[in-house]
């Protein structure tokens, strides 16, 4: 089972190495990882998606690291989760219209184009990106890159908003 952890750390040299060292030491797996500064000076936020049967132990070991300030676990129902993807899809002239129309359902932007392919930028929940690929995959994925997942806890109760529930936006 995958869990999303939001970890606030001191922005100091080697923090990321300490965290990944602990993961490999203790036999935990990192599925995805994203790091960036927060609004607070000297604080970074690391969003981790982990496969961890022993989640409690993992959280405790993270908390044990001196530079880790806060560890928050988020259920997907209470998290605002986003990923960014760049996907190059095979699109020869014959299928180009179809590919573009399908992609537009996901608010994907065309950021590059050649005689045989179109490259899209799309952001959304992990599910949305997965659905995007379900629909565009059959045309032929030539290359693909995904950011690590970023997440923040919701303030509101989850209500079926267009953003949270829909396929597109």
């Amino acid at each position: 089972m995958q869990h999303t952890l939001s970890v606030v750390v001191e922005d100091k040299p080697g923090v990321l190495a300490r965290i990944s060292a602990m993961f490999s030491n203790r036999g935990f797996n990192i599925h995805s990882l994203a790091v960036g500064p927060t609004h607070q000076e000297g604080r970074s936020r690391i969003t981790l998606v982990v496969d961890a049967p022993a989640l409690e132990q993992l959280k405790k070991q993270l908390n044990k690291l001196v530079n880790v300030i806060k560890v928050q676990e988020m259920e997907s129902s209470e998290a605002l989760e986003r990923e960014v993807m760049i996907a190059r899809i095979s699109a020869p002239p014959a299928s180009r219209g179809e590919v573009r129309d399908t992609a537009s359902l996901f608010d994907a932007r065309v950021i590059d184009i050649s005689a045989t392919a179109m490259t899209f930028e799309v952001s959304g929940t992990p599910q949305q990106l997965s659905t995007f690929l379900d629909h565009l995959g059959p045309y032929g994925v030539i290359d693909l890159v995904k950011s690590g997942r970023i997440a923040m806890k919701r303030e509101s109760e989850l209500t079926p908003s267009p953003v949270a529930a829909g396929v597109g936006k």
Partner: protein, 578 residues
Amino acid sequence: MLPDTMNQPAKFTGAHSLFRSLEHEGVEIIFGVPGGAILPAYDPLLDSRIRHVLARHEQGAGHMAEGYAQATGRVGVVMATSGPGATNLITPLQNALMDSTPIVAITGQVPTSAIGSDAFQEAYTTGLAMHCTKHSYMATNADDIPNLIHEAFHLASTGRPGPVLVDIPKDVLNQVTTWREPHLHNLPGYKPTVSGHPMQIRAAVDLIERAERPVLYVGGGVIKAGASAELLAFAEAVNAPVVTTLMARGAFPDGHRLALGMPGMHGVYTATTAIQKSDVLVSLGARFDDRVTGDPNAFAPDAKVIHVDVDPAEIGKVRAAEVPIVGDARSVLQDLLTFLGTRRDLSAAPPRDTWFEELGSWKQNHPLSYEQEPAGPIKVQHFIERLYQLTAGEAVIAAGVGQHQMWASQFWGFSNPRTWVNSGGLGTMGFAVPAAVGAKTARPDDLVIALDGDGCFQMTCQELITASTEDIPIKVVVFNNGGYGMVKQWQNLFYGGRLSAVDLGDRYPDYPKLAESMGCVGLRVDHPSEIDPAIEKMLAVTDRPVVLEVVVDGEEMCFPMVPAGGSNDRIVMRREDL
């Protein structure tokens, strides 16, 4: 502001700031080996009141710092140069991490401008240390040194103690700076919980008061917390038997009616079995190590567990706890006693007659045993019993790792905390001699005896040159069975007697001669009848280190034994039982 103990240096540098900071932390002694990158730090050392003990190998220096720390509870300090100096410290750092020993390691590093260039004697020390310290720092500006050192000592000595490393590039040591009083710790992510939660304290007392077969399972955390007096009061107040793990020997007096001794793989039958049959197991600063639990799924199957530990990550790691209490053992024991006192008269403990009858019968039927033939060969167990008698047990004992360590733990009767210095978690052969040196520097008036095996001795015996040179008169007993006894025991028991690479031979070295060459008195004993006079001779030497070689039975095996991963219900008492 200049240190009053230092001559006014022409320039006050990072190196001066380092020593001023160490003095500020109350450091009296440093164990170390100099070298290129740490050179600047060895100059202000000459003007400092801090004593430096020049070890012959950085690993030895590290174990000395550990021995010092284990024997006192104070932070041990080790200093080494970059590259090989730092990599030689990896073993003591990991050893200190596993046994929660507070040490601070100061390492030199190549100049900042050379970092990452594969410079001479460069190693990525903070990266290496990431896996084997509680925390590590690299100083990038000499102005930060007072705060870094202060933080390092704070981290090493509070919460769950452990090793901390501070790596200082040579140019930072040479940088002109000023010393400022270190300010409060800038450690937003580090706030160890000391006091147990009151609701959990109440729940623990409820559980213990209803228990019929309680056991107090005491680990090294009780010694670290200085909680022996509280443990004694609590054990008596609840009238519960006490087992002390390898790391906790001395936390509770072995002579007490409630003491059962060490549990686990080579533990006393009654201690191991009491845990197995307990209905409430109170773990105090212990971590359910595999050498204690055997097969964790078969461990103490009927017990409800109260787990007290200052490190939250230990609670629930191996065994789920019915009552988890995060806190320092001393603080929690005090709170348990106080709360119990609101419930009933502390002296009105339940008699638990049935439980003590059962424990008594196990003690009687399954004692520790060995047979010493009067004609020899000498058994280690017998020698340890004689040494205990002739010293009245008044000594600090350091041990290596292996059979002799287990026998020392089994047959030495401990009365006081911090009189047992050993490598528990990592099982580092060669620990005894340097650790004894460190302990002796901290407790010069106490008798400090290293009980060592011949295999262990050959790994670190050069530190006896340090001991002789620096006037640190330790005693070292080398039990010579001509090989790696514990490995041999496993090959005999589990590999059909196919002995592979365990024979050290009986010709070399000549231990007394080797000892003499290192400035020690060298003695040898190989017959049971000579044991007492040899011990007397060893004890009579007080001006130099002594090495007493004891030629012992190479075939003796260490029992009781629970084979690795086996259930603690199946304790092997002698070879024929396997």
